[in-house]
């Protein structure tokens, strides 16, 4: 009971540690998980691939970290991953990468949570050549450092401008800032709201910050003053204050960088209190397909995203996608996130083709391939992306402005497709 003696154990333990650490030094794991011998060897003039983690000479495995359960899953994670899969199945049906290597997607549930994303990343990173999708800004940030350490490539499914300068990321689409600028350019231009007072309703998160950056830039370039900015937080139950603030500012155009439920509640309160601007400009993350039937959204909402009306065969990318949907997922409902996933996988496939043709599917090989990738064209589903060295990338600055129309498939009718407004073209994305 009385604490005396006990000298022996610590000494014994310390001894054990010393001995074992000495032993450990001799058998550290090879740092070569990145697979230096993934480098292609010249065999009879043609480059031949070597097996690397995630590639066994027949199948190329890709990872996805995406919410498959919870609120974000149904709205975004599942349709987006389905889009990934449909494009992948199309490639496989056509023979695979370079006509012979089949693709396989391992999708893990990250529950839109940073801890889970980290764990799942570690779980599958050694069985995939790269990550075809990581959904959301915080999850991507959480594994960014691991991507760098592991020399791993990943394609983020979020339109954050931060990603452009990261050599380990393969972003697609025009960032949120461009969405706001293009949306405003349309509203104040073709939309006929020139001279109207511009206001904003913004979430208090990275997405909201990005939207406000775009707004400030647009204000400077297009020469207007921002009349009012109303912020909200996730626990807000009532938007009277925000609506009143914007109403008092006599807003004619309200840019909404917000998430679906608060956006919907905000629109409802606006109607009740008589805030009736010429346009509410919504961004891609504000939308749920169920809103198509909602009169609030049909009235004066401009929705800024990518692509075109679902089924619009005048846009080549959409035509191709609809054909693939009919072939592989005839039951797929119109969904903008499906389109996102489909186009995203196209970028990934182009990257893999490049890596295979360079004869190296190792992590280093894929990173190198991304620098030589050049411009990837999305046939109008996204603006074309000029890849290259991280510092020299040319992200698209084009968006499509929709209006809500329950009469068209998916409820979104393209008003102006794939345009990059003059101020958007001026915008320089800083890292």
């Amino acid at each position: 009971m009385v604490a005396v003696g006990g000298r022996r154990r610590p000494r014994l333990a310390a001894l054990a540690v010393v001995v074992l650490l000495a032993a450990a030094a001799g058998c550290g794991r090879d740092a070569a998980v990145t697979g230096e011998d993934g480098e292609g060897r010249e065999v009879g003039g043609a480059r031949q691939l070597s097996p690397v983690p995630g590639f066994d000479l027949t199948t190329i495995k890709l990872g996805a970290l995406t919410p498959l359960t919870g609120p974000v899953a149904g709205a975004i994670g599942i349709p987006l991953t389905e889009g990934n899969r449909v494009y992948l199945e199309k490639v496989n049906a056509d023979g695979g990468i370079a006509g012979k290597y089949k693709l396989e997607l391992i999708a893990e549930d990250n529950a839109y949570n940073t801890d889970n994303t980290k764990a799942k990343y570690k779980q599958i990173k050694d069985s995939v050549v790269m990550f075809a999708q990581i959904l959301g800004t915080p999850p991507t940030s959480a594994v960014l450092v691991d991507l760098k350490t592991d020399r791993m490539m990943a394609s983020p499914a979020s339109l954050d401008a931060e990603w452009i300068g990261e050599e380990n990321l393969l972003p697609v689409g025009a960032p949120y800032q461009a969405q706001v600028i293009n949306g405003l350019a349309y509203a104040l231009g073709d939309g006929g709201a020139a001279g109207k007072r511009v206001c904003a309703f913004a979430a208090e998160d990275a997405y909201g910050e990005a939207g406000l950056e775009g707004l400030q830039f647009a204000a400077k370039e297009m020469g207007f003053a921002v009349a009012a900015i109303a912020r909200y937080t996730t626990t807000d139950t009532d938007f009277t204050a925000q609506v009143t603030q914007l109403e008092n500012a006599k807003c004619g155009v309200v840019v909404m960088t917000s998430l679906p439920t608060p956006t919907n509640a905000f629109l409802g309160k606006a109607q009740q209190l008589g805030l009736d601007p010429q346009y509410f400009v919504a961004q891609s993350p504000s939308w749920l397909p169920t809103y198509a039937a909602n009169p609030l959204w049909q009235k004066n909402v401009l929705y800024v995203a990518e692509g075109t009306t679902w089924g619009d065969e005048t846009v080549p990318g959409m035509k191709e996608m609809i054909a693939d949907v009919k072939r592989f997922r005839p039951d797929q409902k119109p969904d903008t996130y499906f389109t996102f996933g489909y186009a995203q996988m196209k970028a990934v496939v182009e990257l893999l083709e490049e890596a295979v043709s360079a004869g190296d599917l190792s992590r280093e090989g894929i990173l190198r391939a991304s620098q030589n990738l050049g411009t990837v064209e999305f046939g109008g589903l996204f603006g074309d992306y000029g890849y290259g060295k991280a510092g020299d990338r040319k992200p698209p600055k084009a968006n499509t402005v929709f209006k809500v129309n329950p009469g068209v498939p998916g409820g979104l009718e393209a008003l102006k497709k794939n345009f990059a407004s003059a101020p958007a073209q001026m915008y320089e994305f800083k890292k």
């Binding site: 709205a75 208090e204 912020r231 996730t234 807000d236 139950t237 009532d238 439920t261 169920t290």
Partner: protein
Amino acid sequence: MKDFLQFLVAGLAVGALYALVALGFVIIYKATGIINFALGALALLGAYLTYNISQTWGVPFFAAVVLAMAACAGMALLIERLILSRMVGRPTFAVIMITIGLAIVIEQGVIVIWGGATLPLDDPWGLRTMPLGDVVVAQSDLARIVLAGALLAGFFALFRYTTLGVAMRAVASDQEAALAQGISVRMIVGITWAIAAAVATMAGVMLAAGGRGVEPSLGVIALVAFPSVVLGGLDSPIGSVVGGAVIGIVEVMTAGYSERIPEFLGANFHRVTPYVVLVVILLVRPYGLFGTKAVQRV
């Protein structure tokens, strides 16, 4: 002035919700001395039950609300009998944590059953409004204030004038003495859970009404209502009404006049004003405006 009145009405409507939830906390606290962290989950469950009964089964809205209140009350009674009653005599800490565990299970159960999407409630108010002088009042806000008021008045009548109310007050003031009077403390504690769940259901439904719809984050209302409980006093039903109203108004006013708030306090300062009020009240009057100071006997 118009803005002020507009904020006042909105604040009262938010406050009515807080008051309902706060009352739920207070009645359970009075009878058992614990804070029921599962109350938000019960509000969520009640809202989903209302959705299910009215939308899926086609029962008229108000009848559906009453049925959902009854169902949720029954559920709470069951939980109390099956789980909480085993915890008599155990440390407060353990009992509070049980209610947190319950909250997690109920919330996840709701998501498993109904999914995570927002479901339309189709309440009779929707986005309709009515003018009241200069001010535009959402009918759903008015309904919140009126229905919360009616429910609270009903509770006070029950508490003051019925045998059950007398028994509840007896249990609240001294369990042993109540037991000696032949009052079944077990039953009363169960009933307080049922009443709290019914009141919480009303809060959940009223939160979802007016266009928001039923969705998994409705339960947060309980956490947001905590400052109202502390302001009013954990053991004072009247306090929950006053606390709810004050916090609701303060919150909406802070948001409404956010431009006049010093910038260093940050954007969305209204999110934390209830907690700032809470800290201040605890410094000045640790037991709330209407709460009784606990005297510890040796």
